[in-house]
Symmetry: C2
Subunit: 115 residues, 2 copies
């Protein structure tokens, strides 16, 4: 990520955009355990099949998931498990921030006690 032209930046942004929605993250997280149908995913995500289907087709378009049909059901699965490395990295970043916040909070309380 050094000499990035506008086109490359847009690709990276689109990648992040796919992950910038709680419901989609929930779907990807559910798919950690293997492929699932739309209705199973909808139940797990506490959403409607229509909404989940829309999110899944976006994730399919951007290459995060793949689709397989069997009978009247559509099974979705993760294309490349490496994306979880990304999610875990982000979770680590957020955890780091939260602990930094906690530390700052403690420091503040300490200072308040001194005052």
């Amino acid at each position: 990520m050094k000499g990035l032209d506008r086109n490359a930046l847009e690709q990276v942004a689109e990648y992040f955009q796919s992950l910038a929605e709680p419901t989609r993250l929930c779907l990807l997280n559910a798919l950690r355990n293997g492929e699932m149908t739309v209705s199973e995913l909808a139940e797990g995500a506490e959403s409607t099949p229509a909404n989940v289907s829309k999110h899944l087709s976006l994730l399919a378009k951007t290459g995060f998931v793949e689709r397989r049909t069997q009978g009247t059901s559509a099974y979705y699965r993760i294309t490349d498990p490496d994306i979880y490395a990304l999610c875990d990295l982000v979770c680590g970043q957020i955890a780091k921030r939260l602990s930094a916040q906690a530390e700052a909070h403690n420091a503040f309380k300490k200072a308040a006690r001194r005052a």
Copy 2:
């Protein structure tokens, strides 16, 4: 990222959302080389100071950058360089996809030649 409640998912989504915009990625990329003023960043990103200022305050609010003023200028810098690990990981993912696409493209051409 296993047992994630709605709140955690929203935090992660917000994190990704901050990175889901080409101009903001451009700013973060420019800040790899150290702190810069708003107008310097605006020039580098081929945007207006007002627009860049808005993006920077979002990045500051979500904790990606920090602000320092000197004279009439505002200098921004990266809070935690570890975010670049994330960006590089994403670039790697995208590169992987592009090469997969290229391979599929070649396979298609090969098949077409055979037909």
